[in-house]
């Protein structure tokens, strides 16, 4: 037992090292190509740990021994023995953007998340995860603006890249076999680089702003098994402020000669407020083979009192649902143990641009392939289609096809067989 613990500890250290190494990569690479990521701190990420991606990107009541559910820390209280789960995810996204007269395809793909869970005792476990919180990746070319005081126009191109990542420590514990409580603390960090190149006649100005944000967010979770076929999940995430600072480099081309204008570091930015969130959902298992989740989440963006250059923040509601089917988890045939999933969601969005809410809607399919009979390790593959925005007026309609691949490796996989 002692030996086992030591091994687990050394494993944790190794993984934490990896997490910190990958965090630097995770925050520089692009995971989105959406022009809407210009607003706020980017669009919410489409990546997920475990199987949530295929279940409509939610599942607050989901719990189980074989997977990590980051949506609700209470799920870490699932009863088990010597559990260790390691999860790694990738996201590939092909989006096609369309406005009233043009269409364009953009591709973004990357490693997206890392997470692990380890049990403390039979009733509780903790987990550490690194996953994107929001992504920024926009390229706006040929923005025409009026030169004040004349009838002339100037053109600018704006490019943004970056991401906010969350490093989350979760803990959950079960009480009286029916109730699980959990808490999490997330350290959000990341940077967004925006480059604007302005062309006015033969002159030009380039402004490169690198904004870094960081802050802590706390969340609490509850899961309760009302009946053997019905569970309820509830979480709150408390509002928080992300403090920001910015490095700015300004250059210009004046009379055909390039010259520096300014290079400032550590400019204080207004903090970015994350709203209070309430999430809840139910999990229904009418038969052993089928489980259904229905979720609703509400984020109080309006209460943050924030404004953005063009859009307004509005309260965001997300409705989602998902279903998972497995023929026989103990089956001898491989296909009997394959999990089939499907889900859908509707997200009102948190932005309103000129009176038009940027809502999105999506559906997903997924398959969970078991890696072996003895363990719960799986490869989860899911496909999600999201339609966001609108072609009304000047807005952009996005159609995003994303493929989420993640590998969930469960305890036995890491441990020596008792009989070698």
């Amino acid at each position: 037992m002692m030996m086992k613990m030591n091994k687990q500890i050394s494993l944790f250290i190794g993984i934490i090292g990896l997490l910190s190494f990958t965090s630097s990569i995770a925050q520089t690479n692009r995971l989105t190509g959406s022009p809407y990521s210009l607003f706020g701190l980017g669009i919410e990420t489409g990546s997920n740990v475990g199987k949530n991606a295929a279940l409509g990107r939610a599942g607050y009541a989901l719990y189980g021994q074989d997977f990590i559910n980051l949506e609700n820390p209470a799920s870490f209280g699932t009863q088990s023995k010597n559990r260790f789960i390691f999860d790694i995810g990738f996201l590939g996204e092909l989006s096609s953007l369309e406005n009233a007269n043009t269409e364009e395809n953009r591709l973004a793909s990357n490693f997206s998340s890392l997470a692990f869970l380890a049990s403390v005792d039979e009733h509780s476990s903790f987990g550490l995860s690194l996953s994107p919180y929001s992504d920024v990746g926009y390229s706006l070319v040929g923005i025409e603006s009026n030169v004040e005081g004349s009838f002339d126009q100037f053109v600018s191109n704006i490019f943004g890249t970056g991401a906010l990542n969350g490093l989350t420590l979760s803990y959950g514990r079960s009480f009286w076999n029916r109730i699980r409580l959990g808490a999490k603390v997330t350290y959000l960090f990341g940077s967004i680089e925006e480059t604007e190149a302005v062309f006015a006649g033969i002159s030009g100005l380039t402004v490169v702003e690198e904004s870094s944000y960081r802050g802590l967010q706390l969340g609490l979770g509850l899961q309760t098994d009302i009946a053997s076929y019905l569970s309820y999940g509830f979480t709150v995430n408390f509002p928080t402020e992300l403090s920001g600072n910015q490095d700015r480099i300004v250059q210009k081309t004046l009379d055909l000669v390039q010259s520096p204008v300014e290079s400032e570091t550590d400019i204080d930015l207004d903090p970015f407020d994350l709203p209070f969130e309430i999430n809840n959902g139910i999990l229904v298992k009418p038969w052993q083979q089928l489980s259904l989740n229905l979720d609703y989440s509400l984020k109080f963006w309006e209460a943050t009192g924030q404004t953005d250059n063009v859009g307004d923040f509005i309260n965001q509601s997300v409705f989602s649902g998902g279903a998972e089917f497995i023929a026989n988890s103990e089956g001898f045939k491989y296909f009997q143990r394959v999990q089939l999933r499907a889900g859908m969601f509707y997200d009102t969005g948190y932005l309103s641009i000129r009176g038009e809410d940027i809502s999105s809607m999506g559906f997903s399919f997924g398959i969970g392939f078991p890696l072996s009979r003895r363990t719960g390790s799986r490869i989860n593959l899911s496909y999600t289609n999201i339609a966001r925005g609108s072609t009304n007026g000047i807005l952009v309609d996005e159609n995003i096809n994303s493929v989420n691949l993640n590998i969930t490796l469960k305890d036995i996989w890491f441990l020596k067989r008792k009989i070698d």
Binding site: L38, A108, S139, V147, L254, N309, I394
Partner: protein, 439 residues
């Protein structure tokens, strides 16, 4: 343990293979609902202070152009130019039996003229009574050399600087006989010996001339003093020539004295280089005249008010528009299509040229406006304004505008000043504000 290694190795592989396709898309999607974070403002409200001053002297030696003539100018008074030159032969030997037939001065037109060439002009050719000696290696428009009061010859003509190639002025043979004989007899064997008896010529315009200033070439192949002589032969005389030319090497051997009489005109007050005449005291105009040394001086006394615009910004372009006063330029007194820009210090001394993308700045006639019969010089002075805005110490510098070939002609330009009723000299600034919030 083996599986642990595999899993960590897999993770490392995954991280290493992270794909990033952050190509810049070329299609234009999404920009309509976005505004630039940068504001660009254009303004032309800054004061342009237009003044005139006169350089005490400008270098006129080393030129390849002889400027001769006189005319009255409504704005610049009586303009008079005369040329001074030392002439010498290349060799000091003549055949002993050569006989001088005649002597004449050939002046090749170099196509330059200013004012009315249809009027009769006079060229008074005088012998210099003093040597063409320089004090600091150059001659100025204000230099002068003593000459014999009685001209060798006085020549009247109607200039044809474009249609004719050159002018031939036959001089009295008496002027050449002694020189010719001295060289033939080897009494004159060098320039020094030549100067004892012939120091050079000056060509002065007729005292009452009211015609034009004409440019002749100083090139030895175009202008020279020619001796025609013949050598008696058995059947027919052999005719030969012997030339005195302006030496183009060594110390300058030619210069133009250019002067004007501005009595009763606003320019009359400019007796010193450091005096600036505001355009408000000179008919709301700035004056420019080549040869004489009048230049228009430009300053922007209120430019630092640009910083009153809230936010942080920087200028992206600065164009100065100057309009030549309508009616002051004609076919006889044309203006150049470009202006040279030089920086000057507080004492009105030229310090450096202004550059635009590595090339000197010129004021160029705006062709778009020209189509509307509006002749306006545009001068890109972004670099200068940027420097003025960012200078830490208040320096009372300025820049001056004048036409090319400033020491080789008498071209004049009148420029509308800041209070002109026709067109106010103006500075058009394009200013980009990249930070609206912080001061």
């Amino acid at each position: 343990m083996k599986k642990l290694c595999i899993s960590l190795g897999l993770t490392a592989l995954v991280v290493a293979c992270a794909v990033d396709t952050s190509e810049i898309p070329t299609l234009e999607v999404g920009q309509e609902f976005v505004d630039s974070n940068v504001r660009v403002v254009t303004t032309d409200t800054f004061t342009v202070a237009v003044t005139t001053f006169k350089f005490d002297s400008i270098v006129t030696s080393g030129t390849d152009r002889l400027l001769i003539g006189q005319y009255p100018d409504e704005y610049f008074g009586q303009v008079k130019t005369a040329t001074y030159m030392e002439l010498a032969p290349l060799t000091y030997s003549l055949p002993s039996d050569a006989e001088l037939d005649s002597v004449g001065l050939v002046l090749g037109y170099d196509n330059y003229f200013y004012n009315d060439t249809t009027q009769l002009s006079v060229l008074n050719i005088h012998e210099l009574s003093d040597e063409l000696r320089v004090s600091d290696n150059v001659f100025y428009n204000t230099s002068s050399i003593d000459f014999e009061p009685v001209p060798v010859f006085s020549y009247s003509f109607f200039p044809e600087p474009i249609d004719e190639d050159s002018l031939f002025i036959k001089l009295p043979i008496a002027f050449g006989t002694e020189l010719f004989n001295s060289i033939q007899e080897n009494t004159i064997n060098s320039v020094d010996e030549l100067r004892e008896s012939f120091k050079g010529l000056t060509i002065q315009p007729g005292e009452s001339d009211a015609s034009s200033v004409i440019g002749f070439s100083a090139n030895p192949s175009r202008s020279y003093l020619r001796f025609f002589y013949s050598i008696p032969d058995e059947f027919d005389d052999i005719e030969e020539t012997y030339d005195f030319v302006i030496s183009l090497s060594g110390l300058p051997k030619v210069f133009n004295a250019i002067e004007s009489d501005v009595t009763g005109l606003p320019l009359d007050t400019l007796i010193d280089e450091e005096i600036n005449l505001p355009s408000s005291q000179s008919n709301n105009r700035g004056y420019v005249q080549s040869g004489i040394g009048y230049v228009t001086r430009i300053q922007f006394p209120t430019i630092k008010q640009l910083f009153d615009i809230p936010g942080q910004g920087t200028i992206l372009s600065a164009i100065l528009q100057l309009k030549p006063s309508p009616g002051t330029y004609t076919d006889l007194t044309p203006i150049r299509d470009s202006l040279i820009i030089n920086l000057i210090d507080q004492n009105n001394r030229i310090t450096e040229r202004l550059f635009f993308g590595g090339e000197p700045v010129y004021g160029i006639i705006n062709e778009q406006l020209e189509e509307f019969d509006e002749l306006i010089y545009e001068i890109p002075i972004g670099v200068y304004i940027d420097r003025e805005l960012n200078e830490t110490n208040e320096i009372d510098d300025a820049f001056v505008v004048f036409p090319p070939e400033f020491g080789r002609g008498v071209d004049r330009i009148l420029l509308e000043g800041e209070n002109s009723e026709d067109f106010q000299a103006k500075l058009i600034l394009t200013y980009a504000i990249y930070d609206d919030e912080n001061e």
